[in-house]
């Protein structure tokens, strides 16, 4: 068989698989989506809070950012294993792992977004008599928002990819197609999982990129 015939054969097999298993694919895609969404909501809440807190106290900012950076370097399969004693296996473990991975971009971008605000803007705000809480919510966060959004976007796209690994400990999602496909030497199955994860990541990237632009005060 030539390479071309191999390719055409593979493609036919892929479409055939997708056609036959469309219900399961849809279900797994939704599962994957929920897994990432849950993790992101938690990561955004924690990440922005931590980012804001460390922006008030520089000595602690770099250690905190470094810790989140170290977390990111842990291989995802190891991370999931490490979390088993705390979260068992299943959905919760997957959410916890994704949350930890998502922290760094959000924490770092919140911190740098706030620190990058022109000094004169903050000085005039304080000098005019605005309270710190008002400055945070009306000046600092709105001005840092485009940078924070960029961090969230990075986290989401990354989370959709890493989310595949979570299937290994039964958290569900499109990773199931990849792992089962490998075990059963079913390449159309592996491809389907990979393709749908990519499509989801691309859509998320586009949507968040658009939101980022809409929210930017610069335009």
């Amino acid at each position: 068989m030539s390479l071309w015939e191999n390719f055409v054969g593979g493609l036919t097999g892929l479409f055939d698989f997708m056609g036959r298993r469309s219900d399961q694919i849809a279900e797994l895609t939704l599962e994957h989506f929920w897994l990432v969404l849950t993790a992101m909501i938690i990561a955004i809440a924690i990440g922005i809070t931590v980012g804001v807190l460390i922006s008030y106290w520089d000595p602690i900012a770099y250690p905190v950012i470094n810790v989140t950076q170290v977390i990111m370097t842990i291989p995802s399969i190891a991370m999931i294993a490490i979390l088993i004693p705390f979260f068992g296996i299943g959905f919760n473990n997957g959410v916890a792992a994704l949350t930890l991975y998502a922290l760094l971009p959000i924490v770092r971008n919140t911190y740098t977004g706030i620190r990058a605000i022109e000094k004169a803007v903050l000085e005039s705000a304080i000098g005019m008599g605005m309270k710190e809480s008002v400055i945070l919510f009306r000046i600092k966060l709105p001005l840092a928002l485009p940078v924070i959004m960029a961090g969230i976007r990075t986290s989401v796209v990354m989370g959709i990819g890493i989310g595949a690994i979570a299937a290994y400990i039964g958290a569900g999602g499109l990773g199931i197609l990849i792992f089962n496909g490998i075990n059963w030497v079913n390449y159309p199955m592996v491809w389907t999982g990979a393709i749908f994860i990519s499509i989801m990541a691309i859509i998320a990237d586009l949507v968040l990129g658009w939101t980022e632009n809409k929210m930017s005060w610069r335009t």
Partner: protein, 367 residues
């Protein structure tokens, strides 16, 4: 009234103090200019008044009340604050920027927006046109006007201004200085104004406080500062040429010739020629029915072909406002190459003419 009593600020225990045992009294409604070389402690002094910096020792009394015992937020809401970098909020439009302090004071909405429009008018910007624009769409001069408007929003009795016009080009700076003087004449705020430019200090101040290395060197009116400098340092800072410096002190309305001949663009040339023959100034100002200056005719233009003034007059870009100093008038004359400048009010209507001879007369009176 603001009273500084033995005010000292040390940023580190070892370095010499940034402000060293400074005592100063600023009367209500007066503009006090803190001036001196960089690092003399003028900005630090100013920032201690609204407690952006807390003094190491000494007291500040505002209308007799010890400011260290006041709530800093309340204190600052009652003190307008303008800095060189302005610090407008880039994500808010102009109206929202100006509304900052009234919003903090929880004014009702209608009152806030009415006040915003009023302030835009005060600083010479059309509310319709500017209200909804973002700071980045404005020029440097316009932004600084907004900065001033924002600081005056809640009508604070005291204003702190740190080199407010320092980043502007000389022409815009002179323009904004004059405008601010005009506004101040009406609103009578107590102003602490920081600058390193002695000419600006002479122009803007009712009182000038010259500082050096954290200490007060001399505190006097501009006139006294010029005539009796306390020591060598003041002499050097003020610079020689007392007469020229005095041009910053005198306003054009003191030597203005209020009766220049005027004519309409529809007037005939022969009439204008007759006026020119009688005119001591040697010029006839052409104005429209609202007294707005649209051009002028000098004897040289009579040689041109035409029947009516409109045919021979030339536009004059060289005008100054009523609040301008003789120094402003002189620079306009120097740049236009003419020995006169037309003085107009804020609506560009004619007020009179200032001539080079008039300015020379002032300088000669001094000697």
């Amino acid at each position: 009234m603001i009273r500084l009593e033995n005010l000292t600020k040390k940023f580190t225990p070892t370095d010499p103090p940034a402000v060293d045992d400074l005592s100063l009294e600023i009367k209500e409604g007066e503009t006090c200019v803190l001036v001196g070389p960089s690092g003399c402690g003028k900005t630090t002094t100013m920032k201690m008044i609204n407690r952006l910096i807390e003094p190491t020792s000494g007291k500040i009394y505002i209308n007799g009340e010890d400011s260290s015992k006041m709530d800093p937020i309340k204190l600052r809401l009652g003190i307008g604050y303008v800095i060189q970098e302005i610090g407008l909020f880039p994500h808010m439009n102009i109206a929202e920027n100006i509304a900052t302090v009234p919003r903090e004071l929880k004014w009702p909405k209608e009152k806030i927006w009415k006040r915003v429009d009023e302030l835009l008018e005060t600083v010479g910007l059309e509310p319709e046109h500017f209200r909804n624009r973002k700071p980045k769409d404005l020029s440097g001069g316009q932004r600084q006007r907004i900065g001033v408007a924002r600081s005056m929003a809640a009508d604070p009795p005291i204003m702190l201004m740190d080199e407010p016009f320092g980043a502007l080009d000389p022409i815009t700076r002179a323009h904004l200085q004059n405008e601010f003087l005009r506004i101040q004449k009406r609103i009578k705020k107590t102003i602490i104004f920081v600058t390193h430019d002695i000419d600006e200090a002479i122009k803007m101040g009712d009182k000038i406080a010259i500082m050096r290395k954290g200490k007060l060197v001399q505190y006097d009116s501009p006139e006294d500062m010029l005539s009796t400098p306390a020591n060598e340092f003041v002499v050097n800072l003020v610079g020689g040429n007392y007469s020229i410096k005095r041009l910053h002190l005198i306003r054009v309305d003191e030597i203005i010739d209020r009766s220049p001949f005027t004519a309409s663009p529809e007037g005939t040339i022969s009439e204008t020629k007759a006026l020119l023959d009688k005119s001591k100034l040697g010029l006839v100002v052409i104005t429209d029915e609202k007294k707005k200056v649209i051009g002028l005719v000098i004897p040289a233009y009579l040689k041109k072909e035409g029947e009516y003034n409109a045919d021979i007059m030339e536009e004059t870009g060289a005008t100054v406002g009523l609040g301008s100093t003789l120094n402003d008038a002189l620079s306009v004359m120097l740049s236009s190459g003419q020995g006169y400048v037309i003085v107009v009010d804020e609506k560009e209507r004619i007020e009179g003419v200032v001539t080079l001879n008039g300015i020379m007369g002032v300088l000669q009176d001094d000697d």
